[in-house]
Structure formats: C-alpha cells, structure tokens
Symmetry: C2
Subunit: 243 residues, 2 copies
DNA sequence: CAATTTTCATATGTCTTACATTTAATGTTT
DNA sequence: AAACATTAAATGTAAGACATATGAAAATTG
C-alpha cells in the first residue's frame, strides 16, 4: 500500500483508493481492524487530517466503520445488502434526474427487469410477499389517496413482487430501478379510471403469483408496462399542449 | 440545511447528509457551486476540517467535484452513467464476496437480468455490438488462453449483449451483476470441452441477435445458464471430494 | 492599442498542535 | 467480591498556518 506524492490526485483520494483495493483484493478481510489514524499517517507519510479524509471517503461507501474509545478504530465493514440498498437507490435516482432519461427508457428498463423476476417469483414467493402485495392493492383502492402515496404504494407492491424471487442479488439490483422510477411517476396525475385499471392489473398479477402461474404474471406485467407507457405519453402531451 | 450537534452521528456525516438531501431534492442543481469551505464552516458552525470530511464523503459518491484556485470550490457533479459504473461494480463485487452468495444465486440473477435484455438487444443491437461479440468469441477460441482471460472475455461478450439493448439504465444495472460474477467464475477451471460448448452457445446467441431473433437468443441464454450452473456444480463437487 | 507578462486575491490541499469525548481495561477502595 | 475511580488509547473536533493552483485584474511591453 504505497502512494505517489507526485500524482495529480489528492493524497486522501490516493490513500482511500489504496485501502479500497486492499479490501476488494481480500488483503483486508471483514471485521479486520485497520491501523490507527496515527499509524496510517506514519505509514503513508501524511498528516492525520489527510488520513481522516481518506477514511471518510471509505466510510461513505460503507467499506469501513469506525468506533471510538479504547479498543476503537476503523474496521473493514461487512457490506450487507440492506446497507447497499439506499446507496443504490440514491445513485439510480440521481442518474435518472441528471441525465434526462425519458420516462419510456426508465419504464422499459424497469419492466424488463421486473419481468425477469416474475417467473422466479411465481415459483418461490412466500405467503408474506403475497400478503404485502394484497395490502398494497387495498391501499391503492382507497379514495382520497394522493398521487404521491399511490405511487409509493405502487413501488412497495413491485418491490414485494421482486423480493418474491427470493434472490438477494436480484432484489438489490432491482431496488434501484424500481425506486428510482418513483420521482418520474410522481409527475403523472392518475385519474380514478387509471387507478382502477392499474389496480385490476395488480390484482391479476397477484392472482397469477398466487397460482404459481409464471405466464399469467408475465402477461399482466406486459400489459401494465404498455398501459403505464401510454398513460405517461398522453399526460405529457396534454401538459405540453396546455403550456 | 441545519444539523443537530447533539445527535449521535458524526458532524461530518450529518453535514454530508444535509447537502446530499439538498442535491437529491433539487435544492442544489447540477454545476451549482457550493459555498466555500470557510463559508460552510460558518453556516454549520463547525471547523473547516469537519466540513472537508463531509465534502470528501460526498466526493466519494461522485455527488460533488472540487476545483482549486481562484474560481474553484465544490460543485454539484452531474452524475454520469460512466462514473457510476465502477462504483456499482465494486459494490456488487463486495456484496457477493462478503455475503457468501452461492454461485447458483449469482448465476440465476445474472441470467435472469440478461434474458430481460435479450429481446431488446435482438431488436436494437448495432453492428458494433455484434462485432464486439464476434471478436470476443474469436478470442475465447484461442488456445492457451488462461481461465481468467477466458472469463474476462466472457464478461465483455455479455456486456456487449446488454449494451445492445441501447438502454443506459439497463446497462448500468446489469454492469454490476455481470462484472461481479467474474471473481466467482474465475474459481472454475474450464476444460477445452467446456470452452467449446460455451463458444458454440455464444455463437448461437450472436447469430440470433444478428437475425433479430429474440426467441433464439433467449433459448441460447437459457441453455448457457443451465450449462454454466451444472459446470459449476460439478467443479465444486470434484473439488470437495479431493479435499 | 493590443498582446503579453506580472501581480494578486481566493480557494482548496496539507500540516501541526491541541483539546474533547468515548470506551474498555486496569487499579483501588470498601 | 463488587463497586467505583483512574487511566490509556483511540476517534472526533477545533484553530491556525502554510503550500499550491488558478483565474482575473493590473502592469508592462512591443
């Protein structure tokens, strides 16, 4: 673990990079304690604030955690799926909003990914997942629900569907795609009629999973995708004609 | 943007969180300059090193970039897909290695996601994507190729397939899943016979995309998945019986 | 006057030192 | 032996200084 003081990059970035590589390469293993800040500053021949900046960079990526006190220090963190979710969601959300990704593109990606989960979810979903989906459907049918709440419930419904596949890797990857869609969806006004149609398709989807019917689930998702896409298109058109 | 000095969390974490929220909520827009470190330390009533630690946290997530000099400072960064890839790949890789995700689970996720891209890729792939895939197939058939290089080429092949869907959101999400598989795949020894079979299926896949044949592509991927999974199982069995 | 060079102000990058706070281990007293 | 006090080690925070990069304004020059 050495750094080049003549490099263009910041020292703290170089140090963070060196430690990150050590973690990825397995030279530092989970729960292993890193040298203290004072020791690291000696090893890298930099000051303690510089070392601290490097450690904060790693902490921001959940690669390490720090503990104060006598036996404290920086420890290689066991990155859990639960910890990684929010990061993934924040990044995905910003990617969509900052890169002017069209609703169509985001929607296409989301449903493509979801449809890849559907067969697995039809096979493995637990009663719990089904119950969550039914509960969200029920919430969606409540009158007086704001559009934001309707969309949030939609997200929860679809996450239950994805989680039903019982594959943490899929759930992690999908979390970003599904959650990041919400800000885009929030821009849509759902009429009572739209909601009824969506709820109908959600019910169809839940029924299919209930019956372990992969084909039925896929069909419902396909219809949901085209309905959502068309809805977005017509909403955008109305809005632009008014403006 | 205020912080609670009595909170359990570090001040730098709180400050980073406050600024991050401002960015996500759109209160700070792309390329907007943040106040200088000195100004931020006044606003938040903390010292400059603390502010710097907060900014480094944000920089580690590519949410800001900093520039030295007279007109320098910290700017809200336009998060690009290109920038987000490595993060996503690092995180995915660590998630797999630190959570003892089985080869089966990772493989299932990867192929499920890839199969969701296949129909889109069959429709939209460019000549460039096809060329990349053919080139990788050619590389894979070279004798004397190490297992690591074979796996790396496999990853490149599959990324070209995914990119063929021409959906940046899909490419981003899949990058993690596909690349993170490589360390797991590197643990497998591929016999000449295995390689021949895989190359045959890759060719079949490329041919299907060439012919815009979504069904053929899906079939090839399905076969590839089951072949890969069985291969891994038998390799693991051999290894455990030897040990 | 235009082009070039110099100066200068500003901001981040880094170092040094100091003190505060947390925490577990150690020692002391009852 | 148990409760309490002490201590040492580590991170968290602060303050001030200097180094360095950089754009803009000022001075100089052809």
């Amino acid at each position: 673990m050495k750094i080049d003081p003549n490099s263009a990059a910041d020292l703290s970035a170089q140090i963070a990079s060196a430690i990150r590589d050590a973690i990825v390469d397995g030279d530092l293993i989970v729960n292993q304690r890193l040298p203290s800040e004072a020791e690291l500053s000696e090893q890298f021949e930099v000051s303690r604030p510089t070392v601290r900046e490097a450690l904060k960079r790693l902490a921001a990526q959940s690669l390490i955690r720090t503990q104060r006190g006598a036996t404290g220090g920086a420890f290689v963190n066991k990155l859990s799926f639960e910890e990684a979710y929010p990061q993934q969601i924040t990044t995905s959300t910003l990617l969509l909003s900052m890169n002017a990704v069209s609703f169509e593109t985001a929607c296409e990606a989301r449903y493509a990914l979801e449809r890849s989960c559907a067969p697995l979810s039809a096979k493995r979903r637990s009663a719990d997942h089904l119950a969550t989906m039914r509960a969200e459907i029920h919430r969606q049918s409540q009158p007086g629900l704001t559009d934001e709440a309707f969309c949030a419930s939609d997200v929860a419904f679809h996450r239950a569907l994805v989680d039903g596949a019982q594959n943490p890797v899929l759930s992690y990857q999908l979390a970003g795609a599904v959650e990041a869609m919400q800000p885009l969806m929030n821009m849509i006004t759902f009429s009572a009629r739209d909601r009824a149609k969506i709820i109908e398709l959600h019910t169809q989807l839940a029924d299919a999973l209930d019956a372990h019917d992969a084909g039925g689930a896929d069909a419902a998702l396909a219809e949901l995708e085209s309905y959502t896409t068309n809805l977005a298109v017509s909403v955008m058109e109305k809005r632009s004609s008014k403006a």
